[in-house]
């Protein structure tokens, strides 16, 4: 079927203002939007810039706005969109570098702020694993799935207004460690998230959860962090 792609274009070197280009191409209902972008670059306009790698929703390269909503281009099929007119735009709230490529720097800055790594300076048992029951692991299973695609953070109305807000992805990655029974740094991590730019900025707008291509219950994770903060001993309030 004939499909129309309207793609956001911006080229920093030609100094031009952002505009939209339209391409018409033949598509199967089961084509990924990423396949269409590939075809545009291959056969219509080689200058189109977008990131991609795995093409099946596990590397997090190609989050973008498709018909007004954040998706991974490789995880949404033409038939899922229910229309043959497809508008493709870069993520909102991050600086656009070229066409559909955005600067992920601010996103990863927020990620790094929450200490996204296991902290446990006790000697691990020599030549053995640290034990963790399936029930303990279940507590943070959901948030280990994050592929850092930024679909959530750039769909969040609070983040649009305030780029200092750490955003759902950073909170998800903090959650992954706060609730890991092996970790010992929940306190400093919670302290980061207790700042005005942390979890309290979340207004439960829920766009993040709807956008997450890994089906992570993002808002729930944020709520769990909030609860951990509310229930935390006052001693943590330094």
């Amino acid at each position: 079927m004939l499909t129309t792609l309207k793609i956001y274009r911006y080229d920093p070197e030609n100094g031009g203002a952002p505009h939209y280009d339209t391409f018409t191409l033949e598509a199967q209902p089961t084509d990924r939007v990423l396949d269409l972008l590939e075809r545009v670059r291959d056969d219509h306009d080689g200058t189109l810039a977008f990131r991609r790698s795995c093409a099946h929703g596990v590397c997090g390269s190609d989050a973008m706005r498709i018909n007004g909503r954040n998706y991974l281009a490789c995880k949404v099929l033409v038939k899922d969109l229910g229309t043959t007119e497809i508008t493709i735009e870069p993520l909102l709230g991050l600086p656009v570098k070229k066409d559909l490529v955005v600067d992920m720097g601010p996103f990863f800055d927020h990620y790094r702020e929450v200490m996204p790594y296991l902290v446990n300076d006790e000697e691990p048992p020599e030549g053995k694993e640290r034990l963790q029951t399936p029930a303990e692991r279940e507590l943070f299973d959901d948030t280990t799935k994050c592929i850092l695609c930024a679909a959530c953070t750039t769909s969040c109305p609070v983040f649009w207004a305030n780029g200092n807000y750490q955003g759902p992805a950073a909170i998800v990655n903090a959650h992954r460690f706060i609730f890991d029974s092996r970790d010992r740094a929940a306190e400093p991590r919670l302290a980061v998230l207790a700042r005005q730019t942390g979890v309290w900025s979340c207004r439960t707008a829920f766009n993040c959860t709807e956008a997450c291509p890994r089906d992570i219950k993002v808002t729930q994770a944020i709520a769990e962090v909030k609860r951990a903060l509310v229930r935390r001993k006052p001693s943590a309030r330094r």
Binding site: S53, H56, C59, G127, E129, Q132, R137
Partner: protein, 597 residues
């Protein structure tokens, strides 16, 4: 203007192998990681099933068994000293990962959970053994994330979206690399005492592949251009279960959990090909079986696919027939919920891309180009070996899928690549740091980046009219048809001829994007050139090897020929000419035997 940087160790690639190398090298040496993708986008994140290590958490297991299975899986082409080293180290490596924070799935008593995988057996009984340590079906994702997290913790220096174009050798030793910064289109010169390549595989030269767009064999192509041979390139693994037409991988863990392959007649055909471990035979065996079934018209509806069936009723039916039991001895039975919990991502892929729910319907699968056994020849310390006599290239290292140690020989066992990354990534990182501590910088010539610059200029401003996408598609189709699961003399000769044509045409390409920032067209075209180099080497190596071994199956030479071919291929590329030489296989305790499953 070219920017210059200087580091003791440069790691090229931010996947599992690269990050592991960086973590260990940076402990003592000034280290930086250059990666064309942001590290968390690396293809290690796509690995699903697990990482093999004889922890014996659920039943008896020994690293020697793991080593034997690996040797046998490799069809005796693997170097046994390296295999023994890897299987021993695997245990440590898995615990290291756990200590780094990797969220493995757990046994009820809190230890790392393990599951069966193709080719992993109890050596005493020949039955499948639970050796694959896993985190649901996202083991690679967890490894990649965990290693990246540790790098964040240790403030590893990254140059993200830097594309390495060239390796600089001076006086026979490493001097540095040349890289293109994607964001600006500028060239950077990195001076280094040691360079570790960890650039992953090159499955994108085939039409149907489980591999990422980024899998274009850059590391092997760069070293090949600089006179380093490529080892065993004819051995490329086709995974039996890729999603029909898309090639997206359905992990072997699906069969480990009890899934079976079914042909058009409703038969579990693997019974005929591997009477002992059936669906869990080694990948080359299963891929060939699929191919033969389809050739005989027993693909579903006569098409080129069969069914992979993991519906609980099917699993339970065949588990009962096989007499399969749980660790406690009770009969093996699964429910839809258990399947869902063990392979959530696979189920998600099938729903998304096929509209098929694997718990209710079987999945259409076909063999998909998956893994490069061959690559840059190295020793067990990751040092690149530049010739058949074992001469080490000072300062040059390789690890991960782009390297060939060789532990996978003619056919890699499932879960062994992740082991390879961790074990040899670490070894390479440590050895590179040690080397850098005792070595000085090689002087950089004034024209260091000229080669890369000229090539880029040629692509940008050449007079040609060829379109890179056309050439790429033709190459992919050609390779899938002629250099696929089964190969013949005529097919390979034809492939070589046509590849030469394609290479000639590729010299006439011209990219339309004249810009600098994020010029992906330029990069993709460069990658096409790399793939064509490796495709030619692959086809020539395959043409010369007149036997069938592991993943290399010749219809005209169906038997393994240890007398003439128990040896590694080393291919060199000069211009359009491939020259081949050979080196012996290291054998310690496992003598070549017939391989049956």
């Amino acid at each position: 203007m070219t920017q210059k940087h200087s580091f003791d160790v440069i790691v090229v690639g931010g996947g599992g192998a690269g990050l592991m190398a960086a973590l260990f090298a940076s402990q003592t040496a000034k280290t930086a990681v250059l990666s064309k993708l942001h590290p968390v986008r690396s293809h290690t994140g796509a690995a699903q099933g697990g990482i093999g290590a004889a922890l014996g958490n659920l039943e008896e297991d020994h690293w020697e068994w793991h080593a034997y299975d690996t040797v046998k899986g490799s069809d005796y082409l693997g170097d046994q000293d390296a295999i023994e080293f890897m299987c021993q180290e695997a245990i440590r490596a898995v615990y290291d990962l756990e200590h780094f924070g990797l969220p493995f799935s757990r046994t009820p008593d809190g230890r790392i959970a393990q599951r069966p995988f193709g080719g992993h057996t109890n050596n005493a009984t020949g039955k499948p053994v639970r050796r694959s340590c896993y985190a649901a079906d996202r083991t690679g994702h967890m490894i990649l994330q965990t290693l990246y997290q540790q790098c964040v913790r240790r403030e590893t220096i990254f140059f993200d979206e830097f594309y390495v174009l060239d390796l600089l050798l001076e006086n026979g030793a490493v001097a540095g690399v040349v890289a293109l910064e994607l964001a600006t289109g500028e060239l950077h010169l990195f001076q280094a005492k040691a360079v570790i390549f960890a650039t992953g595989g090159h499955g994108r030269m085939w039409e149907i592949t489980s591999n990422a767009y980024a899998y274009t064999g850059d590391g092997v192509a760069v070293t090949l251009r600089r006179g380093i041979p490529a080892e065993d390139m004819e051995f490329f693994q086709f995974h039996p279960t890729g999603i029909y037409k898309l090639g997206i991988l359905i992990t072997e863990a699906v069969r480990g959990e009890g899934g079976v392959l079914i042909n058009d007649k409703g038969e579990r055909f693997m019974e005929h090909y591997a009477p002992h471990i059936k669906d869990l035979a080694s990948r080359d065996v299963v891929s060939r079986a699929l191919h033969l079934e389809m050739q005989a018209g027993r693909g579903i509806g006569g098409q080129r696919y069969v069914y992979l069936d993991v519906r609980p009723e099917t699993v339970n039916h065949y588990a009962a027939l096989d007499g399969r039991t749980r660790p406690d001895g009770s009969p093996y039975r699964v429910t839809a919920e258990e399947i869902q919990a063990k392979i959530p991502d696979i189920i998600d892929f099938c729903r998304t891309y096929l509209g098929v729910d694997p718990v209710k319907e079987p999945m259409p699968v076909q063999p998909t180009a998956h893994y490069a056994m061959g690559g840059i020849p190295t020793d067990i310390n990751g040092r690149v070996v530049g010739d058949e006599r074992g001469t080490v290239v000072p300062g040059l290292y390789a690890a991960g899928e782009c390297a060939c140690v060789s532990v996978h020989g003619a056919n890699r066992l499932g879960t062994n690549s992740l082991v390879d990354l961790i074990v040899f990534g670490k070894a390479a990182g440590q050895d590179a740091a040690r080397y850098a501590a005792g070595a000085g910088f090689q002087p950089l010539p004034a024209d260091a980046e000229d080669f890369a610059r000229q090539q880029l200029e040629h692509l940008r401003h050449g007079a040609g009219t060829e379109r890179p996408a056309e050439i790429r598609r033709e190459m992919q189709r050609l390779m899938f048809e002629q250099v696929g699961v089964f190969r013949t003399q005529e097919g390979l000769e034809q492939a070589v001829r046509q590849l030469q044509d394609l290479r000639a045409r590729c010299r006439q390409v011209r990219v339309s994007d004249q810009g600098r920032a994020y010029n992906y067209e330029l990069v993709n075209t460069w990658e096409l050139g790399n793939l064509l180099d490796l495709a030619l080497v692959t086809a020539e190596s395959a043409l010369a090897r007149r036997e069938s071994r592991g993943a290399h199956a010749r219809e005209d030479f169906p038997r393994r020929d240890d007398e003439n071919w128990l040896r590694h291929t080393l291919a060199r590329l000069e211009g359009d000419r491939v020259t081949l030489s050979y080196k012996p296989v290291t054998i310690t305790r496992y003598q070549p035997r017939e391989r049956t499953y």
